[in-house]
Amino acid sequence: MASTTFKIWRGERGQGAFTDYATEVTEGMVVLDAVHQIQASEAGDLAVRWNCKAGKCGSCSAEINGRPKLMCMTRMDELPAGEAVTIEPMRAFPHVRDLVTDVSWNYEVKKKIKKFTPRPPDAPDGTWRMAQADVDRVQEFRKCIECYLCQDVCHVLRDHHKHDEFIGPRFLVYAAALEMHPLDTEDRLRDLKDNHSIGYCNITKCCTSACPEHITITDNAIIPLKERVVDEFYDPVVKLVRLLRGKK
């Protein structure tokens, strides 16, 4: 058994400092185990959010050695051996205490996105028919566990604090899942351009590399939406073709 030092951010409302704790690390341990051990032994008042310990609830998001990660899915043996491990709260959301941030801004954002609006049912029994190939595309987006690590790492929120204008990668994924759904009839493109500011994303792909569900956020959700926004608002040829065909 080896003892490892953990530098854990302690403090409230954005103020605080790292405190060092040493704890034994055994085979198969994840960072959240170590945090629990520390909580049980020397820091009973350490605030940390967690729930499933299986990478499914998205509660235990934090920054481990400077990288946004789920504490319950970061194995100790993937971190550099013999070095202290730093654990901090997410930086894109208001800080509550220790490792806990207030992520409720995300719930407000989600409400602003137009709801799924399916076409009338295809069959008299109120059901629809769609091809597997067509739903496959949006299936990937449904893996999201709402851990908000992508929101945390996105520099538009993290460094530029555009929370009032930009919905962030998580909700661009959500919008893509609805917008590309074969049954959906709603049009979210003007919202994406004007109210959700998809143009703020400069496709630097930090969200994609942070996503614990390995959703190809930038390439499969954001860029295809950007292309649709171009069709609708920027491309003069598409405009002309629509005009000639008598659409809009």
């Binding site: 409302r13 954005g14 920054e63 050695n65 400077g66 990288r67 946004p68 730093t86 901090e88 709260p89 930086r91 894109a92 959301f93 208001p94 800080h95 509550v96 207030d102 409720s104 801004w105 407000e108 091809a131 190939a133 067509d134 595309r137 790492v153 520099h155 538009v156 993290r158 460094d159 530029h160 555009k162 929370h163 009032d164 917008e179 590309m180 759904h181 074969p182 959906d184 500011s197 143009g199 703020y200 994303c201 400069n202 496709i203 630097t204 792909k205 930090c206 590399s209 930038t218 390439d219 860029i223 295809p224 950007k226 292309e227 649709r228 926004v229 171009v230 069709d231 920027y234 491309d235």
Partner: protein, 266 residues
């Protein structure tokens, strides 16, 4: 946002708790792109040594006007203004330049490497203001698809050149089939450029991505799947094809200068 609670202190420029050498990819991007730019500028202004045997440098294709036998409409036109530098490459190169400059992959890469916005993921930034691609000038990146269209046309010419690279002069005014190292160089180059172009995000969009239903047409589904397959490795295609374009020009230039002799395989 409800800012009843403060966020953590903002990281300063370059500040991070990451332990890895996050700046290495930026050094790579800056070095490669700058070197490429310098070399391409030199090669384009040189207006010489861009053909050798049946080979034509990709920087100079299609050669609309020029002095080589590959020129479509003969030598430099008489009406070309004296003050305007002339080279067949200078007419063509703005197209791939526009295509690559507005490419979604390169955009992300150079915003990081040249503009530090962000320098890397979870690393502090130098500036407070931010416009992104929402307003002018970067909103112009939305015209990437036109770069794709023009580059696609160039690609047809490059395939034509690769085909001609199989036909060597037979000495009596005719041609005979053959394969030289240069043929392979040109073929690999056009294959890499095709992979890059087919995997372009705008290509993926126009080929089917703009629709919610792809199952209706088998041809469209196959095309979309092909584009998506190339799209997954778009970064690699982008770099490999950038290298191959420059190296193809270098190879042909060295042959033309007599520094190396093209080896005939067949």
């Amino acid at each position: 946002m409800h800012r009843s609670l403060p966020v953590m202190d903002q990281r300063k420029f370059g500040e991070t708790l990451r332990r890895d050498a996050w700046w290495v990819p930026n050094v790579f991007v800056v070095t490669i792109l700058t070197s490429f730019l310098v070399y391409a500028t030199y090669a384009a202004f040189a207006n010489a040594h861009y053909t050798s045997g049946p080979y034509l440098s990709p920087f100079y294709s299609p050669e609309i006007w020029g002095d080589s036998p590959h020129a479509w409409f003969g030598p430099k036109p008489v009406w070309w203004p004296g003050w305007l530098p002339f080279s067949p490459a200078l007419i063509i190169l703005p197209i791939p330049a526009l295509f690559r400059f507005t490419c979604y992959y390169y955009r992300g890469a150079y915003y990081k490497a040249f503009w530090a916005d962000p320098p890397s993921c979870a690393v502090g930034e130098p500036r407070k203001t931010y416009w992104g691609e929402k307003s002018f000038p970067l909103v112009m990146q939305n015209f990437h698809r036109y770069g794709l269209l023009l580059s696609f046309i160039l690609l047809v010419f490059l395939w034509h050149d690769a085909w001609l690279a199989f036909w060597f002069s037979s000495g009596n005014g005719g041609t005979q089939f053959g394969i030289g190292v240069g043929t392979i160089v040109m073929l690999v180059n056009v294959l890499l450029l095709s992979g890059y172009t087919i995997g372009c995000h705008s290509m993926r969009h126009v080929i089917g991505g703009f629709r919610d239903k792809l199952s209706g047409s088998r041809a469209r589904k196959v095309a979309y799947d092909c584009s998506s397959a190339c799209n997954r490795g778009h970064m690699n295609w982008a770099w490999c094809s950038l290298f191959s374009v420059a190296l193809t020009d270098v190879y042909i230039r060295l042959c033309a200068l007599g520094v190396i002799t093209d080896l005939r395989i067949l």
